[in-house]
């Protein structure tokens, strides 16, 4: 593998390559351990050795018993919240990204506010929102303060990716469209949007996963309905059984599924643009 180019490999390639493999092992090793341990037998504990294999702990997730909260509903809530956060992040970021292409008074202030929101310790944001709601006499809730708190995290991240995406967009396409008579809305709908679509899917993907896995900003703002990460957190301090690992496996599989779907979609768009197989009558622009 990786021998294209003809030149012989220097020793540093092998040294760094070994180092890189170690890094990958470091990244994935613990996750794999969790995955294996989640299939621990009914009498097994939270570490090796495996005492048989079973799906006991996965079944345990479905039953809301004892200290384990209502995992299935928390999962549903998290999924719904993440989907909404993904959609809002994509729409708001693309719109803002288009706005930032022009210079306007206050642009720098807004940009640095977004950066500040990104680097702000998450608990402060959570605390501030909870405090504000309390002082104003409002009740915190999943889709009000909870969603808002997550957006202060997903939006700046999404904005950075949007900037990178729009920055790569060749403005000549836009000028060509202007030249052909397109107005600003037609330019966006027909030219800019389809061309930057892979980037927008990336932004939505970030919005989804950052919300789906978000913990600190949600902690004080979701009201009395827990999200999945908050349930996991509760389990971390309470559970003494591999049910925690089963939950970890499930939530990781969900993340992987979403990631794979997003990547496949992006891949499909890119391949289609490169001209793979085209049906004779393309209906994309009817």
């Amino acid at each position: 593998m990786m021998t294209e180019g003809g030149q012989p490999r220097s020793r540093s390639f092998y040294v760094l390559g070994f180092f890189f493999l170690l890094f990958l092992a470091f990244l994935y090793g613990p996750m794999i351990v969790i995955f294996v341990l989640s299939f621990q037998g009914p009498n097994g504990g939270m570490s090796f050795p495996m005492v048989g294999t079973s799906t006991t702990w996965f079944q345990g997730l479905l039953q809301a018993t004892g200290r384990v909260g209502d995992i299935p509903s928390a999962f549903q809530r998290s999924l719904g919240l993440a989907l909404l956060a993904a959609a809002l992040t994509a729409v708001i970021c693309v719109s803002a990204g288009m706005g930032f292409r022009r210079r306007f008074p206050g642009a720098a202030l807004l940009f640095y506010t977004a950066v500040a929101s990104l680097v702000m310790p998450s608990l402060f944001v959570s605390f501030g929102i909870a405090l504000g709601f309390k002082e104003l006499g409002w009740r915190t809730g999943l889709f009000t303060s909870g969603l808002g708190a997550q957006l202060t995290w997903t939006l700046p991240f999404g904005l950075m990716i949007t900037f990178a995406t729009i920055g790569r967009f060749d403005r000549r396409y836009e000028e060509a469209a202007t030249d052909l008579g397109a107005n600003s809305w037609q330019r966006f709908r027909d030219i800019i949007f389809p061309i930057i679509l892979p980037g927008i899917i990336g932004v939505a993907l970030f919005g989804f996963t950052l919300s789906y896995d978000e913990f600190a900003r949600s902690s004080l703002t979701v009201g009395n309905q827990n999200t999945l990460p908050l349930e996991i957190w509760a389990l971390t301090t309470a559970a003494t059984s591999p049910v925690l690992f089963a939950l970890g496996t499930v939530t990781t599989v969900v993340s992987f599924t979403v990631l794979t779907l997003a990547m496949l979609t992006i891949g499909l768009i890119v391949r289609r643009r490169a001209g793979g197989r085209l049906s004779a009558e393309r209906s994309a622009h009817g």
Binding site: E175, D179, G181, D190, G275, R282
Partner: protein, 347 residues
């Protein structure tokens, strides 16, 4: 004029009325462009006669692309007026100017097929799908790209992309087609072929082409009107032959090439290199020095000479003349020309 144009043109409802009577397709009146203090284009005026092929020629940074973009409406002018066919379009958006632009590297929409690219201007105008596809097909046929209609740009070669871009620009029925370095992305062989096709198309369509290039050969081969620009100014605007025969400044003479610029009685003079001879008889010599280079160009041989005063010059002589009395680099030599070939320069 060509045979195809006569009956059709008079009956063509080219928008708007008054177009066909205007003597000029493009008129620039004291047009300037400055960016944050630096002047890119400085008060230029130019008239491009009806249905002519005009090349804006100059080194990079001379303002030729900016001028083209101002005509297109992609760059607002800082001062001055732009007229297309007698109509002041200075404040009009690109589509309302009667111009159409073919971009450098073509800017074909990567997510649309060739056909959809060409049909796009009809789509934004609300032309029904079947009708716009049919018309786009006609324009693809016009540039011999009919069989590639369904291909995306990524599957087209450079030359094919250029044809599609041409069809896309022409379907808006422009009075003036603007081409930004249209041949620079092609390999030399294809470049010469497409050059011929551009010229042929311009004659067929009887509209004006304004073509930006930094290549003297391209401008000479194509243009009815060559506009030589430098540092935001137009140095000379004239038919190709006039530019070559009578360059008005030392810059133009040097830039279009094939000239020697040497000090004359009052100011500099230009002499075409192909009118110069290498001689040795001291009485006729205009410039004495030694041979610095010999380049064999096929039919011609270019002999470079460095004068005793440090001046560089060259003579283009036929291979027969050269090999009758060959010279070697380093050899003492003199350059000669006759008075009627010397041409006084303005500066």
């Amino acid at each position: 004029m060509n045979a195809h144009s006569d009956p059709g043109v008079s009956g063509t409802p080219v928008p708007p009325a008054g177009y066909k009577d205007a003597p000029y397709d493009v008129e620039l009146v004291a047009v300037s462009k400055s960016y944050a203090g630096t002047i890119a284009v400085d008060t230029i005026s130019l008239r491009i006669p009806k249905a002519s092929y005009c090349c804006l020629l100059g080194p990079s940074g001379c303002g030729k692309s900016t001028t083209l973009r101002m005509i297109a409406g992609h760059e607002p002018v800082s001062a001055g007026d732009i007229l297309i066919g007698d109509r002041n379009v200075t404040d009009n958006p690109p589509i309302a100017r009667g111009t159409s632009m073919m971009f450098q590297n073509y800017a074909l929409f990567p997510h649309m097929s060739a056909l959809d690219n060409v049909a796009y201007s009809l789509k934004v105008r609300g032309v029904p799908k079947d009708e716009r596809r049919a018309r786009a097909r006609e324009f693809l046929d016009l540039v011999q790209m009919g069989q590639y209609a369904e291909r995306p740009p990524a599957l087209l070669s450079g030359g094919q992309q250029q044809r599609v871009a041409l069809a896309r620009a022409l379907i808006t029925r422009p009075r003036v087609l603007l081409l930004d370095e249209p041949l620079s992305a092609l390999d030399p062989f294809l470049r010469e072929r497409m050059r011929g096709e551009l010229k042929r198309l311009q004659r067929e369509l009887q509209i004006s082409f304004v073509h930006v290039t930094h290549s003297q050969d391209e401008a000479m081969a194509l243009a009815d009107l060559v506009v030589v620009m430098e540092a935001g100014h137009i140095r000379q605007a004239a038919p190709a032959r006039d530019i070559f025969e009578k360059p008005n400044t030392a810059f133009v003479a040097r830039f279009i090439g094939g000239h020697n610029v040497v000090p004359g009685g009052n100011g500099s003079i230009a002499v075409r290199a192909d009118r110069c001879r290498i001689g040795s008889s001291a009485d006729q010599a205009r410039l004495t020095g030694h041979v610095s280079s010999v380049e064999y160009l096929g039919a011609l041989v270019r002999v470079g000479l460095i004068g005793d005063n440090g001046l560089e010059a060259a003579a283009l002589i036929s291979d027969r003349t050269f090999f009758a009395a060959p010279v070697e680099p380093g050899q003492a030599a003199a350059l000669t020309w006759s008075d009627e070939d010397a041409h006084a320069l303005a500066d």
